[in-house]
């Protein structure tokens, strides 16, 4: 029962990532793509937590922490590059 609900949740997350991927490929400007990148990585953090649940290992959550941190920093670097502040 629980696993079925979580499976459906995973499908929704995958659909969200796919929609963001569509915007990434289509997006007319680099800023749109950066936002799509942001959404994809935020959704991926949840996917990582879900994998950790199915594997039953708490240690996998460390990866989600570092993942979120580094994606944040990439976005900030891209933003500073766009506004000529790097």
């Amino acid at each position: 029962m629980v696993n079925t609900i979580l499976f459906v949740a995973g499908v929704f997350m995958a659909l969200g990532i796919l929609l963001a991927l569509f915007r990434f490929i289509k997006g007319p400007d680099i800023t749109d793509r950066t936002i799509a990148f942001d959404v994809m990585t935020i959704a991926s953090i949840t996917v990582i937590a879900l994998i950790a649940h199915f594997a039953g290992r708490i240690i996998y959550l460390d990866v989600a922490l570092v993942y979120g941190l580094l994606s944040f920093l990439s976005v900030v670097a891209i933003g500073r590059y766009i506004e000529r502040g790097l």
Partner: protein, 233 residues
């Protein structure tokens, strides 16, 4: 045109070789003898709960030494290349100021990021991570400082001193392993402790602290040499 055709043939040959490999690949159902030796003997011989750490630091410690050396050489060459470049123009650069939000957020985030980096390399023998990842996270913290305050300067002497001390420390730990225990980078000259506690696995936490500081300072020096030159263009 001929060149393109030749390249295409090369690529097709590559694909053929790969597909041959792929068709016969079935995956494995059990560990091979070497890996099962590590899995069975690793926890008692090395005392590290994270077997990847046991392999990286102890069983294949020489590889890690070489890797650190390669990273050091790469950082040195990047610095050398960018520093000897003659400046094109001497126009002062006008950077746009950061927003206040990013600046305040960075004062909150930078200590937290450093704490996270320290957690990752101190707990390298218990949880995923270790010197390399922790060092990278620490370099990220430095990166955050640069991004939030582009005008800030680094203490180059501090970076190079940290790098040398941690490099020497790493080699000294290795030699101590050779003298006091059975081989180079053998960690068993300190008590192995209870599996799964912070003070276990002999010298591995100490070695990982050295590697973490070394990798962090090397990556910082790469980023720094990329930034440094910016004001000269």
């Amino acid at each position: 045109m001929i060149k393109k055709g030749l390249l295409l043939i090369l690529l097709v040959g590559f694909v053929a070789v790969i597909s041959g490999l792929l068709i016969n690949f079935t995956g494995s159902n059990e560990l091979n003898p070497l890996a099962s030796y590590y899995a069975e003997k690793g926890p008692t011989e090395v005392g590290a709960a994270n077997l990847v750490t046991a392999v990286v630091i102890t069983y294949r410690g020489f590889d890690t030494l070489g890797e650190v050396t390669i990273l050091f050489i790469a950082a040195a060459i990047v610095g050398f290349f960018l520093k000897t470049m003659n400046a094109d123009t001497n126009r002062p650069l006008r950077l746009r100021k950061t927003s206040e939000i990013l600046e305040t957020a960075s004062t909150l985030l930078v200590p937290t990021i450093f704490m996270l980096g320290a957690y990752i390399f101190v707990n390298g023998h218990l949880t995923p991570g270790g010197g390399f990842q922790g060092g990278a996270v620490i370099a990220t913290g430095v990166m955050m400082i640069i991004l939030a305050r582009p005008a800030s300067q680094f203490n180059h002497k501090l970076i190079s001193v940290l790098e040398s001390i941690s490099g020497i420390g790493f080699v000294v730990m290795g030699v101590l392993g050779l003298v006091l225990a059975s081989g180079f980078l053998n960690n068993a000259f300190l008590p192995l402790g209870k599996l799964g506690s912070l003070l276990s696995a002999g010298a591995i936490p100490i070695i990982y602290v050295f590697i973490g500081i070394k990798v962090g300072s090397e990556l910082t020096s790469i980023l720094d040499s990329l930034k440094e030159n910016q004001n000269e263009i």
